[in-house]
Structure formats: structure tokens, C-alpha cells
């Protein structure tokens, strides 16, 4: 059984977790090392702790989510917090309520931590200025999804033992992906070399300024990579004439066993989910337990979120 330290009296992290861009390398490493302890706990028979007993955690989801929401919910419960999940959807907005109104009424209930997902970039930043508790960003617009990047990093460390010096490819709809952005910042910070691969219409402008190399060709982009991170191709993008068809996308950017051979022999595959089999990834690869880390990502996601809740909770 792992040794889990009590809550520290002095906070070792900033007030909020809004994005990897705001994070220092010390904070990132602290979260990752805390999370490691929780992996063992989560695999044990008795998973419940009372570190956050008496604390209230509110999950405020303005955008639908399955795995992130359940992961945060479970993480809070395992630490003993009272967890409330609110799926705000568009109902409040339709009634004319703004995000700040919603936040203020929740704030009146004295939460200790709010986990927020919102379709607009910067919404958690706005929220954090108005509430008295810690705010954790569970994904905002196209900007950041910090806990996803942290769980991806933990998964890589768990398998490869390190991140420094690894070559990692992120492939797919980079333009619309907050996961890609957060991963680029974190992996760069931890010393990896990052390639991004996408058709030009799905590549953000000035992406090279984020410290990555960009490719429009899988063969070149995957060359000697240790990790291949695939992103979901959002089907709604097909109508904005970003791409001619799914078929053509799969031909050039879908990950097949053949294309995976461009990477290192022992290269591993990651995907933040949900997957579109046959669009960005071959179904054989998706299920290949020797290559795919998808299940492990989900598993370690809970541990990372426990670490974040523990460190950031007021």
C-alpha cells in the first residue's frame, strides 16, 4: 500500500489549475508524483481515503462529457469529498443566465473546488476571478485540457520510465484540439521532442512557435517516434469543408499497422477518446493490447485527477 501524505498546510501549487501554460515544471512534477501513489491505491481492494472529508467538489459541465466527468467524480469520491455534478448544458444559457451568474450561485454554496468544462476558451479563467474556491479546468474551448495532458504524461512515464528525450507525435485535428495544445506545452516542458501531423486545414497558424515541428505527412512525422498520439476527428468538421471526406482523411492520416511502422519498433499508441474506428485509427490497432495504451490512459486519469483535487482543494 502506497504511502499517501496528508494535505499540506502550505499549498505547493498555485490557486487554480487553468492550463499547462500557467504551470511551472515543479508543479507539473509534483502532480505527477502525487498521482503515482494513487495508481497503487486505485488498484487495491480498499480505494477510499478521507483526505478530502468535509470538502465539497462541484463538477460544472457546460459541455457534455463522459470520461472526464466520471473520472473527476470518482476521483473526488475516492478522496472522501462530497461530489456534486451539474450538467448545465445549454439550459441555463437559454434562460439567459451567464456563466458568472451560475458561478456566483454555486459559490454561495461554499464549494472548496470547482471542476469546470466549457465550450468557450478562457471561461475557467473568467470563473476563477469570481469564486472563492479553487478552479480546475476540465477542458475549455480550443484552449486547454490540462488534466488530460497530465494523465497522458503519467501514462508515458509509467511505460517508458521517462519523458525527457522521447520523440512524440501528435496526429489529427490539431486546430480544434485543446488536448493537443495542453500536450504540446507539457511534453515540451518535460523535455520531449514533439511532432504534430495534420492536413494543412487542420493545423493552427504559427504552430511552430509553440515549439513543435509540423508535418503533413505521416511517414516523415512518425519517423523514429516513441509515442504516437492520435486525436479524434470531429465529424462535425467534415461539413466545414476542412476535408473532402472521411475516406480521404483515413487514406492519408488514419493510423494503420503499416503507417505505424514508420515509428520506432516499440512505439506505443495513445488516444484521448472517444475513438472513431476507421476514421483516424484502424480497429485492429485500437484493440491491440501490445501497442495501445488507451485503457491505461483512462485508468491513470483517475489517479491524476485525485492528485489535482488533493493539491488544489482549499
Amino acid at each position: 500500500m502506497a504511502v499517501i501524505k496528508k494535505l499540506s498546510a502550505v499549498k505547493e501549487v498555485q490557486e487554480h489549475l487553468l492550463g499547462i501554460q500557467n504551470l511551472s515544471i515543479q508543479e507539473a512534477n509534483l502532480i505527477l508524483s502525487e498521482a503515482k501513489n494513487f495508481i497503487k491505491l486505485n488498484r487495491s481492494a480498499s480505494k477510499k481515503l478521507d483526505l478530502l472529508r468535509g470538502k465539497t467538489q462541484i463538477n460544472l459541465f457546460f459541455e457534455p462529457s463522459t470520461r472526464t466527468q466520471s473520472s473527476f467524480e470518482l476521483a473526488g469520491k475516492r478522496l472522501g469529498a462530497d461530489v456534486m455534478t451539474m450538467n448545465v448544458g445549454n439550459s441555463s444559457l437559454k434562460k439567459g443566465e451567464t456563466i458568472l451568474d451560475t458561478a456566483m450561485s454555486l459559490n454561495a454554496m461554499h464549494p472548496d473546488i470547482i471542476v469546470v468544462r466549457h465550450q468557450d476558451s478562457g471561461a475557467p479563467n473568467l470563473l476563477s476571478q469570481k469564486v472563492n474556491c479553487a478552479v480546475i479546468n476540465a477542458g475549455d474551448g480550443l484552449r486547454e485540457h490540462p488534466t488530460q495532458a497530465l494523465l497522458d504524461a503519467l501514462t508515458i512515464i509509467n511505460r517508458k520510465g521517462k519523458i525527457e528525450g522521447l520523440k512524440i507525435a501528435i496526429c489529427g485535428d490539431i486546430l480544434h484540439s485543446r488536448v493537443a495544445r495542453s500536450n504540446i506545452y507539457l511534453l515540451n516542458m518535460l523535455g520531449a521532442e514533439v511532432n504534430v501531423i495534420a492536413p494543412k486545414t487542420l493545423m493552427p497558424t504559427s504552430v511552430n512557435k509553440l515549439g513543435v515541428k509540423s508535418f503533413t505527412n505521416m511517414k516523415e512525422g512518425l519517423k523514429s517516434c516513441d509515442i504516437v498520439m492520435m486525436l479524434r476527428l470531429q465529424n462535425e468538421r467534415m461539413h466545414g469543408s476542412f476535408l473532402p471526406s472521411k475516406r480521404e482523411y483515413y487514406e492519408y492520416f488514419g493510423l494503420t499497422p503499416d503507417k505505424l511502422k514508420f515509428a520506432k519498433k516499440d512505439a506505443l499508441l495513445m488516444h484521448p477518446g472517444p475513438m472513431n474506428r476507421g476514421v483516424e485509427i484502424d480497429t485492429r490497432l485500437a484493440d491491440d493490447i501490445n501497442v495501445s495504451l488507451v485503457k491505461e490512459q483512462v485508468e491513470l486519469g483517475v489517479a491524476v485527477r485525485m492528485a489535482c483535487l488533493k493539491l488544489y482543494c482549499k
Binding site: Q21, T98, I99, L100, H118, D120, S121, G122, A123, N125, L126, D140, G141, L142, R143, E144, R178, R181, P204, T205, S206, V207, K209, L210
Partner: protein
């Protein structure tokens, strides 16, 4: 009204290429009787009351070519009275009001309303503009002739752009015959739809969909091509990128006649000022790179850009306290227009006379209005300022009804001390 005498001022009036220490005499009717170094202590009546402006600068009252007033429909954001107070504190005596009110100003009876309200409530000269197309939907042109007769000085769809090239060509063709002024906000809607801020590293980092510079350039190039066929009085309301400056340079070199403006925001701020989603920095056209800002300043210096506007757009708190993508565009600025422009003088970017020209003489020329000059016989609209006085922009002290100032808390150098409208004192800082 008695005659008024101002002496010992540094008088800058680009309309007569004047920059000298001297005085000005205002007659009983509020007109300029004499101006320049000939007016001094020794030749004004010894008993007359003289206002000594030693160390101060005196210029024609400022003309702001792009101001959103809020009446009718948005009185909670700004009204004629609050706008006038803000304008006069900034030395602005004449404004072109934007027609994107609710309802929009696209017909004769609305012009009547604006003129009457303006006459009763405003303490400044209001020059109303009307929309280019009915309801600003880019389809049917408005009654240029009838509206002009009523007193409309120019036509613009304010923050919208006529997208259809056929309609734009007809507008220009028709306008050329009536000699009316067409003012375009250049932005391709398809390339800017659902987007805010400038496209680039900052937009990628903030996770916002950016507006590419090409959205502006493509409309400017289209319009200038049309202008070669249908020469009318054409004005580009605002530029934001260096590429747009290149385009107008090319066409002006070829002898094409048109004018262009720029917002003081785009001359003084860049995309990095957006910081952590500051919605007051959300303006249209968007703030772009530092290189773009510099190119715009150079464009003003070279005379490619004729006017500087405040692009005053009051927005209430509710419209701004939202996630960035949902927040309204715009910043107030009429009160700080001159002071912020003086920053460009103090940091050696622009000569003082050039700055004054772009906010007095040039807009008057473009609008064909009898303002912006201190020539003998013109209305004595005056702005008197201290070139060096330091101050900090405290939004709570600004007179505009809305407080969305992009330059909130900025330290500025140079402040308006007195404003005169037709010879009457309408603002005095003391």
C-alpha cells in the same frame, strides 16, 4: 457674446500650415477673427479680458469620424448627453455618428430623429451617417440622395461590410453621380464569421479562432478595383494590418483617389495586450501584431492613412463580462483620443502636426464639412491642451456612460484643459 482673446499659445492648425506662438481673437458671433503670431499682448485692447495660454497648445476642435452614440436603442450604453460630455473632455467638438443603432438609421425619418435629438441633447456638432444598405443587410442601397439632403455626411454599414460585389459596384456607381461619401468597414464575413482577435500565435495559444489579415485585404482590394471603374468618394473606415497598408500604398501610387482611417486602438495596442482574455481588448478590426501596429503608424506618417478615429463603442458590463468569444466588440475612447495619440508624439513615432492633421483638417476635408480649421471666419471650435501633463486613465472618472476602456489604467502624457464650441467655453478642467 463679447469678443475673446487668447494669447501666448502654441497654435497648430494644419489647414493653414500653422505652428507658431501666437493668439486668437473670437468675434461676437463665435467666429475666428484673427489668428497667429500677429495676435499678441501688444495689439489686443488693453482693457479686454485675455486668456493667457503660455505653454499650452491650441488646435481646432477635434473631429472624430467614428463614434457610436447609442441613441436610439442603446441609451443604457451611451446617450447624446453623456457622449457630449465625454467628447468635450477630450477636446472633440464634432463627431460622425454611426448608424448601427436600433432601429438603424437607413431612412429619412430616422435622420430627422437624430438631428432633433442631437440638437436638443448634444453639446457638440453631430454629423450623422446613414447605412449603405437598408437594415445593413448588404442588399438594397439606401436613398443616398434624399438622405444627403437631410444632412447625412456619409454612408456606412458601420461594423458590417457589403459582401456582394455586384451590389458594391452599383453602390459606388450610383454614389459617384451624387458625390456622396461611401465608408466601408473592410472585412470578409466568411473569413471572420465566429472568430475574434487576430489569427496567429496568440489566437492559437488562447484557443480562439482568429481572423486572418486576408479578410480585410480581400475587401480593400476588391473595393479599390471597383473604385477604378466607378470613381466615387470612397473611404476605408479602419485598417488593421501591414498588408492592408501595402495595398493602399500601391493604389495611391497609381493615382487612385480615396481615403483611409485607423483606430487609435490599432495604433497604440497590439494582440499581446489581450493577455488573459481581457474582453475590453476585443475590438473590430482586431488588434494585430506589433509589426502591424508599426506599419500603421508608418502609414499615418507617410500620409497613406488620412485620419485617426477613436472608434468609440460603449458597451455595458453585461456585454463584456462574458467568455471572450461571446463578449461584445468595442472600446470607448473619445475622451482619450488626443491623449493616447500624443503618446505617439512623445515616443517619437509621429510629428505633432501630423497627429493634429489626422484629427482635424483631414476628416473635415474627407467629410466636406466646414470644420477643423482656425482660418478667419470659421467657427471657433477650439481644443486647448497641455502637451506634457501626466495622468492615469481611471475609468470611473471617464464621462462616458460605459466604462469599457481598452486603455484602462494606462499612464498618459498630455491632457485637454479647455474646449470651446463656437466661441463658448464648454469644458474647463479646473
Amino acid at each position: 457674446m463679447k469678443e475673446k482673446y487668447f494669447i501666448n499659445a502654441r497654435i497648430i492648425d494644419p489647414s493653414q500650415n500653422l505652428d507658431e506662438i501666437g493668439g486668437i481673437i473670437i468675434d461676437e458671433k463665435g467666429k475666428v477673427k484673427a489668428v497667429g503670431k500677429a495676435v499678441n499682448k501688444s495689439n489686443v485692447p488693453s482693457k479686454a479680458e485675455k486668456i493667457d495660454l503660455k505653454g499650452k497648445v491650441l488646435i481646432p476642435g477635434i473631429i472624430d469620424m467614428k463614434v457610436f452614440i447609442g441613441e436610439p436603442g442603446f441609451e443604457y450604453k451611451e446617450n447624446f448627453r453623456s457622449l457630449s460630455n465625454a467628447a468635450l473632455s477630450g477636446g472633440v467638438t464634432s463627431v460622425v455618428s454611426m448608424p448601427n443603432t436600433s432601429p438603424v438609421i437607413d431612412n429619412v425619418s430616422m435622420v430627422d430623429f437624430i438631428l432633433r435629438r442631437g440638437r436638443d441633447k448634444a453639446g457638440i456638432n453631430i454629423y450623422p451617417s446613414a447605412t449603405l444598405t437598408r437594415n445593413m443587410d448588404g442588399k438594397l442601397m439606401t436613398e443616398f440622395g434624399l438622405l444627403s439632403k437631410k444632412g447625412i455626411v456619409g454612408f456606412t454599414d458601420a461594423t458590417k461590410t457589403v459582401q456582394n460585389s455586384e451590389i458594391m459596384s452599383r453602390i459606388m456607381n450610383y454614389a459617384s453621380d451624387l458625390d456622396v461619401l461611401v465608408m466601408q468597414h473592410p472585412e470578409d464575413h466568411e473569413l471572420s464569421k465566429g472568430r475574434c482577435i487576430s489569427e496567429g500565435e496568440v489566437s492559437t495559444r488562447l484557443g480562439l479562432q482568429g481572423i486572418p489579415y486576408i479578410a480585410e485585404k480581400i475587401i480593400i482590394e476588391r473595393d479599390l478595383s471597383l473604385l477604378e471603374e466607378y470613381p466615387c468618394r470612397y473611404h476605408i473606415s479602419q485598417l488593421s494590418s501591414s498588408k492592408s497598408v501595402d495595398v493602399i500604398k500601391k493604389y495611391k501610387k497609381n493615382g487612385l483617389k480615396f481615403s483611409a482611417g485607423v483606430s487609435i486602438n490599432n495604433l497604440s495596442l497590439n494582440e499581446n495586450d489581450i493577455g488573459d482574455f481581457k474582453t475590453f481588448m476585443k475590438v473590430s478590426p482586431p488588434l494585430r501584431k506589433e509589426e502591424d501596429r508599426k506599419a500603421l503608424v508608418q502609414g499615418v506618417k507617410d500620409g497613406l492613412i488620412d485620419v485617426i478615429v477613436s472608434d468609440h463603442k460603449p458597451e455595458d458590463e453585461e456585454s463584456k463580462r462574458l467568455p471572450f468569444a461571446q463578449a461584445a466588440e468595442g472600446s470607448i475612447g473619445i475622451e482619450t483620443l488626443l491623449s493616447l495619440a500624443l503618446e505617439l508624439y512623445h515616443n517619437d513615432s509621429l510629428p505633432l502636426k501630423k497627429i493634429i492633421e489626422t484629427i482635424t483638417y483631414n476628416p473635415a476635408k474627407i467629410l466636406k464639412i466646414n470644420k477643423g480649421s482656425l482660418k478667419k471666419g470659421s467657427d471657433a471650435d477650439l481644443c486647448i491642451f497641455d502637451l506634457d501633463q501626466p495622468w492615469k486613465v481611471d475609468v470611473s472618472k471617464l464621462k462616458s456612460k460605459s466604462k469599457n476602456a481598452a486603455i484602462e489604467n494606462r499612464k498618459l502624457q498630455g491632457k485637454v484643459l479647455m474646449t470651446y464650441l463656437k466661441g463658448e467655453s464648454v469644458f474647463n478642467l479646473q
